[in-house]
């Protein structure tokens, strides 16, 4: 990224001997919806809090819009935050909460009221001006927190797992709304979440964090289709892993010798580092099951072990000779009769496309 708007340069945060964030270098573009994704304790929230200024990096510098933030206290930074707990002031009503940050701007009353009305309309809370936080539902509180942060027109909006406390349906609704809102205001969003689906749905780019470091920074599509490590592949979605050995380290799209599958092409064999032990990774939905032998070269016989019917799709577990672990296969139930036939069949065929298998260094 050449036009880095937020630039994290060698950020480290140590608590005693423990490094919560370990030498992070990240560039975030202007107007980007950027997510920090990882399990709890991976340092994503600490990183966000360092951008906001609530934590001071042990080493490194945060640069926002070309200005180093190292000497800027949190209340003077061009960032605003939506807190995980929303942090709605209980002694103030909704309008006062939303207007809270405007006091410094010395606006007259009418202008404040106008901006508050605008902000509340943006989050669809018009008419709630005089409610108190204990009279609001979780989703409404979240909207108040959002309006309160956006009314300041920050350069960067930081969101710390803002959807975590909402129920599933509301969460999905808010995901779309947040995305739409971000597009319309054009503010750079940095979003922290441990929910991979949430990160994939909303973000332009995602940094998958583990043990204080981003292990892959990519678009949602690339993260899913081309994970760069077993860790990312395992964290994002479901993945089958098969042990395999390298055949040609030469350069072209490689071939590997995988347990149970034999010699198979892998898409990124050349990119794979030259290490002895690799694994082949394949998504359950990229494998297809057939009752009769399909055409094409990439296929193998398998036996049905287990089926789970989920309505729109089914999950199958199949075993292949020479393969220690069973494979997970997922298929849409477009043709219920075919699905029933598959579930009942003992001896089946498994096939896949040439670009379905990914080789990754086996590091875990």
């Amino acid at each position: 990224m050449t036009d880095a708007f937020i630039s994290l340069r060698g950020i480290t945060k140590a608590f005693g001997a423990f490094k919560a964030v370990d030498d992070v270098n990240l560039d975030i573009a202007r107007g980007e919806f950027f997510s920090l994704l990882g399990p709890s304790g991976c340092g994503k929230t600490t990183l966000l809090r360092m951008i906001a200024g609530f934590e001071t990096p042990t080493e490194g510098d945060v640069v926002i819009d070309g200005v180093s933030m190292s000497a800027v206290p949190p209340h003077r930074r061009p960032t605003n935050m939506v807190f995980q707990s929303y942090a709605i002031f209980p002694h103030l009503d909704v309008a006062q909460n939303v207007a809270y940050g405007l006091r410094r701007d010395k606006l007259d009353k009418a202008e404040v009221a106008g901006r508050v009305g605008e902000a509340l309309a943006m989050v669809k809370l018009s008419g709630y001006e005089s409610r108190r936080s204990n009279e609001l539902s979780g989703g409404q509180r979240q909207r108040v927190a959002l309006a309160r942060a956006l009314i300041k027109r920050p350069k960067v909006l930081l969101l710390d797992e803002p959807l975590g406390a909402l129920d599933r349906k509301l969460r999905e609704e808010m995901q779309l709304e947040l995305r739409t809102l971000q597009r319309s205001v054009g503010i750079t969003f940095v979003f922290v979440t441990h929910d991979q689906e949430e990160a994939l749905t909303m973000s332009d780019r995602v940094a998958v964090m583990s043990q204080g470091k981003p292990i892959q920074v990519a678009s949602p599509r690339d993260l899913y289709e081309r994970p760069n490590s077993v860790e990312v592949a395992d964290f994002i979605g479901k993945m089958n892993f098969l042990p395999c050995r390298r055949l040609n380290g030469s350069g072209e799209a490689g071939e590997v010798e995988a347990d149970g599958l034999g010699r198979v092409p892998v898409v990124n064999g050349a990119e794979c580092p030259d290490v002895a032990t690799l694994v082949v990774a394949v998504r359950p939905e990229k494998l297809s099951l057939h009752a009769d032998e399909p055409a094409g070269a990439l296929k193998i016989r398998c036996r049905m072990q287990n089926t789970a019917y989920l309505g729109d799709r089914s999950h199958y577990v199949v075993s292949v000779d020479g393969l220690e672990r069973a494979l997970a296969v997922s298929a849409q139930n477009a043709d219920p009769e075919a699905a029933r036939q598959l579930a009942g069949g003992a001896s089946l065929w498994l096939s896949w496309a040439p670009d379905a298998l990914i080789a990754l260094p086996a590091e875990r």
Binding site: P74, H75, P90, H91, A99, G101, R104, A149, K152
Partner: protein, 308 residues
């Protein structure tokens, strides 16, 4: 096991548990049962003597320990019209308002420090706050007599430093000595409720205020102070009520200038030998304090509802 026995059981069971069911259904009844020992004690040592006081305040003292029990309002007329009592009421209220003000003012930073800056061993700090209560109230008052006295710590200190040529007499036996002593004596009563209300404040609210552009000072006045108001109210009420009627401190360090209404009440029940007047003074003082406290609480609540 005949069917007749089981039928009897079926009928008896609900009857036996009628009390239990009543108990389960009535939240209030259970509450009163729990309170009953306390209620009985309160009735015996508070309510009954109080009724006695009210009755007594409408009687007239005769020679010896006999009373004329004809109804009269003279005691109240005396209490509210005689200059001496008016001065004593005003002075008592003034001293205790000042005490309340200074105690809260001095207690707040301590409570703030423990709530926000002490990370470990908070319990130790809280126990330390109650340290003054480990000695008797009387001893604490005497201690101030030693500090403020003619040959006391302050005077001898200033003398040996050569800052004064003879001991100051303005330190002891006046209202300010009463205020100083009471402020120290009641400090823990202010620190604890304020500490509790500060401790309850969600730390993310402070971060939110900072995030929205407030520096430390603005944040204190816009978030911390309003949210700790319940603690301040509790502390003020807790100090104001008992200090208005304090008797020991003014009699030991107050001198004649620091004489308060409770000293006058005590006088009427002892050497003055006018129990009905004493009762009328005591009840008047109680009513005045009640009215002031209620007004205070209502006004503060109104004010905070409007803070923006």
């Amino acid at each position: 096991m005949t069917s007749a026995t089981s039928a009897t059981l079926a009928v008896d069971a609900p009857r036996a548990s009628a009390w239990r069911r009543l108990l389960m259904r009535s939240e209030a009844l259970r509450g009163y049962l729990l309170l009953s020992p306390t209620l009985l004690v309160m009735l015996g040592i508070m309510v009954i003597p109080m009724i006695g006081m009210v009755v007594l305040s409408f009687w007239t003292q005769l020679a010896g320990n006999t009373f004329d029990n004809a109804f009269t309002l003279k005691n109240y007329a005396d209490a509210f019209t005689r200059d001496m009592y008016r001065i004593l009421f005003v002075r008592s209220l003034g001293i205790s308002l000042l005490t309340t003000f200074f105690t809260v003012l001095l207690a707040y930073p301590v409570a703030y420090y423990v709530a926000f800056h002490v990370k470990r061993h908070k319990m130790v700090w809280i126990i330390l706050m109650t340290l003054p209560f480990w000695t008797s109230y009387l001893l604490r008052v005497f201690a101030w007599k030693i500090i403020l006295g003619y040959n006391g710590a302050i005077n001898s200190g200033l003398l040996s430093l050569g800052m004064i040529s003879e001991p100051l007499t303005v330190l002891l036996y006046n209202p300010s000595a009463v205020v100083i002593t009471l402020t120290h004596a009641w400090a823990a009563f202010a620190i604890l409720p304020i500490y509790v209300s500060l401790e309850k404040i969600d730390r993310s609210l402070l971060e939110a205020a900072t995030d929205l552009g407030d520096g430390p000072v603005a944040r204190f006045f816009r978030v911390v102070l309003p949210l700790s108001l319940p603690g301040i109210i509790a502390a003020s009420v807790l100090i104001f009520i008992p200090t208005v009627g304090d008797y020991v401190t003014p009699s030991l360090v107050g001198g004649t200038e620091g004489y308060m209404i409770s000293n006058a009440i005590q006088f009427q029940f002892a050497r003055g030998n006018n129990w009905p007047l004493g009762a009328a003074l005591a009840l008047s003082s109680m009513v005045i304090v009640t009215v002031i406290v209620m007004t205070y609480v209502v006004v503060v609540r109104r004010l905070t509802a409007r803070i923006g």
